[in-house]
Amino acid sequence: MEPVLTVEDLSVRISGLHILQGVSFAVAPTGVTVLLGRNGVGKTTTLRAIVGLTPPAGEVRGTIRMGAQSLLAQPTHRLVRGGLGYVPEDRCVFAGLTVAENLRLAERRGTTPAYDKVFALFPELDRRGRQRAGSLSGGQQQMLAIGRVLLNDNRLLLVDEPTKGLAPKVVTEVAEVLERVAESVPVLLVEQNLAVVRRLARDAVVLAAGKVAWTGDARELLLETALTKSLLGVGSAEAATPSARSELASPAVAREDQL
């Protein structure tokens, strides 16, 4: 199957620092591809480069393609309208706007926003329409950030650390939602929680020092204790424990699996 996204020889330099140095990988047209790596290896920079959000002072080289379309040098709003959904790290909901206004902002002229789908996934958003987004809990804000993107049809979703800073129970809820979402649209996910990775991801790309250190089957990676230890710095056998799938909601698992 043709990949939905192809990244070739991607290099990003920001303020003189070479954050990414020739990164190449592909995202399968179905399921979840996870981008892994220790802190500061360039996972978020990769997603931001794909969606055209590298800071103006930064320099991006290489090739990024979605199908036959080249994404580099295109403005972000055009990429997003073309079907590239982006859920940023730290949610980035508009705190001063209501939930309904946050959603309305994502509506596009000429298309029918899929409120039914969003409210079926997140009934809470419907109930809290008049509440200011800044007064929502972290989990609710994450739901809003994902819901906002799902109002429109997407060819690929980029999701950056959706479970960061969330309570274990909410982590489970977010994982469930992403699992359902990934049934209809491919997802490129940056995630630190290996229990979530184990549950969702089919393919994995591991970055180390701004380069691709490993690509392949995500579950295979998590079964290789020595490999996960060297690439991700996971010191226990937790990453290789298949039973942890059923323990996703367990606070202990959620904590120990954090990279």
Binding site: L53, P56, H77, R78, V80, C92, F94, G96, L97, L105
Partner: protein, 296 residues
Amino acid sequence: MGTVILLALTGLGLAALYFLVASGLSLVFGLADVLNFAHGLFLGVGAYGTWWAAGNLPGAGSDGFGFVFAVAFGVAAGTLVAILVELVLIRPLYSRTIEQVLVTVGLSLAGVALLQATWGADARPFPRPDWTRQVTGILGAQVPNGGLLLIIAAVLVLGAILAFLRWTRYGLVIRAGVENREMVTALGIDVRKAFTLVFAIGGAAAALAGALGGVYFGTVSPGQGGSLLIFAFIVVVIGGMGSVVGSAYAAVVVGLVQQFVNYYGTSGLGDICVVGLLAVVLLLRPQGIAGKVATA
């Protein structure tokens, strides 16, 4: 009592003038992060556009509907200049703060020089309806009608901007953009259109300030925009960058402080007090009265 009422209402008239200049300045900075030193030019274009139209444009004049037409012409000219400045000079320089400051300062100086070269450096009498030269008795005070006109105009502009921000799609985009411009683009919205729009709104409000300021002061001069811009910047900082309501509150505080201190203290002391107030706000509440929120 009559003196206090008079000082309060003339202070509010001054506040109205500051607000008309500061509201656009605040929105432009809040959304686009542009510190627009050329904003005074829009005021100058509005004032001279109205002055020129009243004397030369068929149908326009210094009274009645002719004056309204002249003001509309001045506002349209200021708005057009604001849009052109954004499209031609500012748009290529977004995210390049130093260059923006240099360009807008340069444009401000060049604009004043152009007005001087065209119509001379001296202040010229401003054509205005007779009733604006008269006064109205309010609670024992004889208040100039020109000041009352400014207050009414500022309240209407405040209401119109708030309604626009609250009820329209572009208003929503601007409010969101003031919070997080990058995320607005990540939702598929071309935020540059909103930049042009806030420049147009700011230009229109400043041009209206120019026209009504001419009525208030009775004259128009090339340097008027620049001197008002200094206090408008103070209002924007005290009110909170990006907050229209904050600018309104701050304009009232600055206008009243200036008027009362200048009257009861030494002339000019009010201006120093305003700068002192700015320093206190920057030290105690650097985000201003309302912080960076487009509506409140």
